[in-house]
């Protein structure tokens, strides 16, 4: 049947040799506004005309009077400037601190039920940067963007600073912990046997769980409810049905040669993405082409994982079950045993009929089937966590039948999400609240009013509870309805432990004492349990718990105190215990595979976790809000993502506002037309539209949680039968996608012709290793004599085979280099300040585009065009090959930016510290976030990537002190350190024995815009797509 497919018209993959690159629809369809914009260096309105002839004449006397008046005003105005504090040396210097030297603390960051081992860099006692802990078995020195951004949340001036108590008039009044402890302890004691409900996120800390157990002993009516907006509950439940154990093993992604991702964004949001990204990229090694993995992705909307796929097809998420069953049937037909699904049911699913019906590419499916059969035991099929249980069971069966269970790793089994509260229990809680059976609600660092489905009726029910206590870092939707709002310490001010996998524990330690009058959440409960709060109450409790419950099982040689100090320093404790091997597949699980093919039509709404804001917890974090979305490059908003055909069908254009209705539940949200989206699929990211939070996140985006229902037919994240109405309104969506285009009127396909992107296939590269070299424009004349760099010369190489476009490097650079947040209004006029951007190019059709990614930062050109045009020599060249920027000399002509072919220079159109959100970044507290080694730039100054010159200087200083030569490997840039896939390498171009030298001189290496002959010091390793030879 597959043979009947028209391969010519349905291969969906445009030829690599002749791609038409485009970044947006305006570019693809040659929109006049885009063509005009390309002619302008800065957007309209940014540059005002300056005609000397039109200026009024001013006499010498008047000029001097005006200058004097300005000087007097400036002197008066600056007399009391913010930050004119005094620098006072330590009277008694803490032993650990050496002025000017950083300290590092190993700790743990908990995000969405996952734990990441982190190292927090502190300077003179204040945390300034977060990186991964190399000792952590899962993180292995890498961490997430959210963990890095947690630094900004620590210094959020809108954190709650002391306990609040609601008065009879409904206002909040400041109080003290002593008063609060007394009042709440007595109120809890008077609960009259009624239930005290503790509502929490998933608790992965064994000691926190013990605190809650102690609380339950003291208050026997206490009951724990827990939730995560996005969780692995369905995957775990399916696993338990199939294998009789809730312990889902981790996957050996680095051993998988073929990966089929079904609505799975394992590189973006699903599971522990730090681990999966690292392992996935390990197998995208161009030096080991035989093990180069091949990724197939079938999904409803273009995701980060889909962008990195070798083959990608679009399919609405509610059809995934039918697809997996069809694939099972096809695999079974090819003679694979062990697929014991009822043949009457299985025979109703046909892969190629399904493909034809849903516009999938039959030839690609054929290749997929061949690949799965050929790579039995080294392929993995992964279903996204938002898919229904029957899809997960079918996927488990498929993996089992193909022998792919070998890729499950029982040594690092994930602990399941079974502790999460079931729907029936939530309903029963709400009913009890309405009936007055609940004595108190304690929001234990949770925000149920924002997160729980509105049709649960939680909001109305909570108003009937006499005592509501919110333990939170900053105000939120739930704290607004509380009687007491108790400020809790930031994770970097708190003790803790975590266990998400069998085999190790992570430890969390405070790297700074609480900045405000806060307590950590466990301390609050312990104070109510013991009736007496003491400083370090939770530290002592944690140590005691470890000494009595965990330490004895470790068979340690050291006494406990020494063990404890060592464990804190490492941040991790290996227990050595591992679960038993995986059981055999339980065929009774297949009872859920009885659904027959259905005729599915209408619109389906798919809700996804926000890449930046997560479940909304990070909404008040400016770094994350301003981080361009990895796919659409939209900042400061969420939106309804639809395909080109669906937009046409709905008669809407980009930025039109639509109303989505799911029965009684409605949401108005703007549209973004997303290439690669499945037809009739509306994808919305959650975590936006906060109605109560700090000034950064307030009102940013739209709250799509209102579409969730407790009675979802499929899963809590997928709803079909939606109806859509065009409202007639429009909404401004800001994207960095079309910023900094290159104007080249002589060349139509500028990206291809000017060699901005070079790429190929693994097959072609194997055949001809010079395939990229041959495309390069290397024969270029130069006006300049060659310059000799005898010592170290710095360079960077970026492996585009490993770069997934996640943007973690951007956040790391922000933190390291004091890059300000500018806000949506400024991003709209191309004034974002991030020093590194991830250029995303589409090629092929708007329906099924290929994606090419290219991180773009200052290329530190040897013949830098920016240097020639600076009238004050503010940008010049160092003898180690760096294109330097002298901020104090810069007068802001912007000639350098105009002359930069890569458009990587950023101009401070304002003092953004002061300009953003009423001086949010001007708060005293905010000063603590800055890296003291990097100048905070002000208005009128140009800035750009420096290759982390401050880190180079530290390494040089260390080398001089230790009487050894400075080596390239002594320096790691911030982006390199943060890159989860090790795509970025940095080092000495002249050191021909270094690892970096191999990257720099790799056959796949090329320079962007090489024909300009500006001699960049950033080499890109061309992306190789692992498509089949017959495709190439």
């Amino acid at each position: 049947m597959a043979e009947n497919f028209d391969k010519q018209n349905n291969n969906g993959q445009s030829k690599e040799s002749d791609p038409n690159y485009w970044q947006s629809f305006k570019e693809l369809y040659k929109d006049i506004s885009f063509t005009e914009a390309k002619k302008l260096e800065f957007q309209k309105g940014v540059e005002d005309e300056f005609d000397v002839a039109k200026l009024p004449g001013v006499s010498r006397r008047k000029f001097l009077a005006l200058v004097s008046a300005s000087a007097a005003l400036a002197a008066a105005g600056c007399a009391d400037y913010n930050g004119n504090g005094k620098i006072i040396p330590y009277n008694t210097k803490p032993e650990e601190i050496t002025l000017g030297k950083p300290n590092y603390y190993a700790s743990t960051f908990i995000e969405n039920g996952q734990d990441y081992g982190i190292l927090i860099k502190t300077r003179e006692g204040r945390p300034i940067k977060v990186d991964g802990n190399p000792d952590h078995p899962v993180s292995k020195g890498k961490t997430s963007a959210k963990a890095q951004s947690a630094i900004l949340s620590l210094y959020d001036p809108e954190r709650l600073q002391q306990p609040l108590r609601k008065t009879s008039s409904g206002n909040f009044m400041k109080s003290t912990w002593q008063h609060i402890d007394q009042e709440i302890s007595s109120a809890l004691a008077k609960a009259d046997g009624k239930e005290i409900s503790i509502i929490s996120h998933k608790i992965i800390s064994p000691t926190t769980l013990k605190v809650i157990q102690d609380f339950q002993q003291k208050y026997p009516g206490a009951k724990l409810y827990s939730y995560e907006l996005f969780n692995e509950e369905i995957r775990n439940s399916a696993w338990e049905k199939c294998y009789g154990s809730g312990l889902f093993p981790s996957i050996k992604w680095d051993k998988a040669k073929i990966i089929l991702a079904l609505e799975s964004d394992f590189l973006g949001t699903d599971g522990n993405r730090v681990e999966t990204s690292r392992m996935f990229a390990d197998n995208r090694n161009t030096n080991d082409l035989d093990n180069f993995n091949r990724l197939y992705s079938i999904e409803g909307n273009l995701s980060l994982t889909g962008m990195n796929a070798d083959y990608r097809m679009r399919l609405r998420p509610d059809l995934q079950f039918e697809f997996v069953m069809s694939l099972l049937n096809e695999i079974s037909k090819q003679g694979v045993g062990g697929i014991s699904v009822d043949p009457d049911i299985l025979s109703q699913f046909n892969l190629y009929d399904f493909a034809q019906k849903n516009s999938l590419y039959g030839n690609v499916l054929e290749l997929l089937v061949k690949d799965l059969l050929k790579n039995r035991g080294s392929a993995i099929i992964h279903a996204g966590r938002t898919l229904p249980e029957n899809v997960h069971v079918a996927v488990n069966l498929l993996n089992d039948a193909l022998g792919n269970s070998k890729l499950y790793n029982p040594d690092t089994t994930e602990l399941p999400d079974f502790s999460l509260t079931k729907k029936e229990e939530w309903e029963s809680l709400v009913q009890s609240m309405n009936e007055g059976k609940i004595g108190a609600i304690i929001n234990f660092d949770s925000n149920p009013i924002y997160h729980l489905p509105p049709d649960l009726g939680f909001v109305d029910a909570v108003k009937k509870v006499p005592l509501v206590i919110s333990l939170t870092e900053s105000e939120n939707e739930s704290s607004e309805l509380a009687n007491y709002v108790l400020p809790i310490s930031h994770p970097f001010e708190s003790w803790g432990d975590a266990q998400t996998r069998v085999g190790y524990y992570s430890l969390q330690q405070p790297v700074i004492s609480p900045l405000f009058y806060t307590r950590q959440k466990e301390e609050v409960l312990l104070a109510w349990v013991s009736g007496d709060y003491k400083e370090n109450i939770y530290h002592d409790y944690l140590m005691n718990n470890w000494q009595s419950a965990i330490y004895p099982s470790l068979n340690e040689m050291l006494d406990f105190n020494r063990f404890w100090l060592g464990a804190l320093q490492r941040g991790i404790v290996n227990t050595g215990s591992a679960p038993n091997s995986i059981n055999s597949f339980d065929k009774t699980a297949l009872a859920v595979l009885k659904e027959k093919p259905k005729n599915i039509s209408g619109y389906v709404v798919s809700l996804k976790e926000g890449y930046a804001t997560g479940d909304g917890k990070y909404a008040n974090n400016g770094w994350l809000q301003e981080l361009p979305h990895p796919v659409t490059k939209v900042t400061w908003d969420n939106y309804a993502s639809v395909s080109v055909a669906t937009a046409k069908q709905m008669n809407v254009e980009e930025k039109d506002v639509i109303e989505i209705s799911l029965g009684e539940r409605k949401l108005k949200i703007p549209v973004v037309i997303q290439p690669g989206s499945a037809d009739n699929t509306i994808t919305i990211e959650l975590g936006y539209g906060r109605s109560k939070c700090g000034v950064v996140g307030l009102g940013v985006g739209f709250n799509a949680n209102v579409l969730m229902s407790k009675d979802s037919k499929l899963t809590p994240w997928i709803y079909n039968s939606a109806s859509i109405k065009k409202t007639g309104d429009t909404y401004d969506i800001v994207s960095t996608m079309e910023h900094h285009p290159i104007n080249d009127p002589l060349v139509s396909g500028v990206v291809k012709e000017r060699k901005i992107i070079l790429e190929g296939t693994v097959f072609d590269y194997k055949k001809n290793p010079k395939i990229i070299k041959e495309q390069r424009l290397t024969d270029n004349a130069s006006l300049y004599d060659p310059h000799d760099y005898p010592g170290v010369k710095w360079g960077m190489s970026i492996d585009l085979n490993k770069c997934t476009g996640c943007g973690e490097c951007v956040i790391s650079c922000n933190a390291e280099n004091n890059v300000p947040v500018v806000g949506k209004d400024q991003v709209k006029v191309s004034r974002e300040m991030q020093w590194i951007r991830i250029d995303r190019y589409y090629s092929g059709s708007a329906e099924d585009p290929h994606v090419s990614l290219e991180p773009m930062l200052c290329q530190q050109c040897d013949h830098a065009p920016c240097e020639n045009v600076c009238p004050v020599a503010a940008t010049n060249h160092s003898d180690d090959g760096l294109n330097q920027m002298v901020y104090n000399r810069c007068v802001g002509t912007r000639y350098c930016s105009n002359n930069c072919p890569y458009k990587v220079r950023r101009f401070n159109f304002f003092n953004f510290k002061d300009h953003f959100r009423d001086g949010y970044q001007e708060s005293n507290l905010f000063d603590l976030v800055y890296n003291p080694e990097v100048t905070v730039r002000s208005r009128g100054v140009m800035e750009k990537c420096t290759f982390c010159i401050q880190r180079i200087m530290v390494a040089r200083e260390d080398a001089i002190r230790e009487h050894k030569p400075l080596k390239g490997s002594d320096v790691k840039t911030a982006c390199q350190e943060a890159c989860g896939t090790s795509a970025i390498n940095f080092g000495d171009i002249n050191d021909n024995k270094s690892e970096f030298y191999k990257y720099r001189n790799n056959e796949l290496g090329y320079y962007v815009l090489e024909n300009l002959n500006v001699r960049p010091n950033v080499t890109y390793l061309a992306k190789l797509r692992n498509t089949h030879s017959e495709e190439a």
């Binding site: 006499s59 590092y104 502190t122 330690q509 320093q569 507290l925």
Partner: protein
């Protein structure tokens, strides 16, 4: 009006004092007038002059270098 003409205009002594007086009165009124009521936001981050004390937690254990766990 052309700015040159404005500068060239003779400025009477009386006018000068009236202008200065009006300016000072205006400045005084501006100081006491609650300007923030005119704007949407009531946030005043710049005025947040609360003293922040940075103290390390003596019970935490640090490392000297990134990636080095002090043996």
């Amino acid at each position: 009006m052309n700015i040159q003409k404005l500068f060239d205009k003779k400025f009477e002594r009386k006018d000068f004092f009236i202008s200065i007086g009006a300016g000072l009165a205006g400045l005084f009124l501006l100081r006491i007038f609650p300007l923030n009521l005119l704007f949407k936001s009531n946030y005043n981050f710049k005025g947040n002059s609360q003293k922040i004390k940075v103290r390390i937690n003596p019970l935490a254990v640090s490392r000297n270098k990134l990636g080095d766990n002090n043996g």
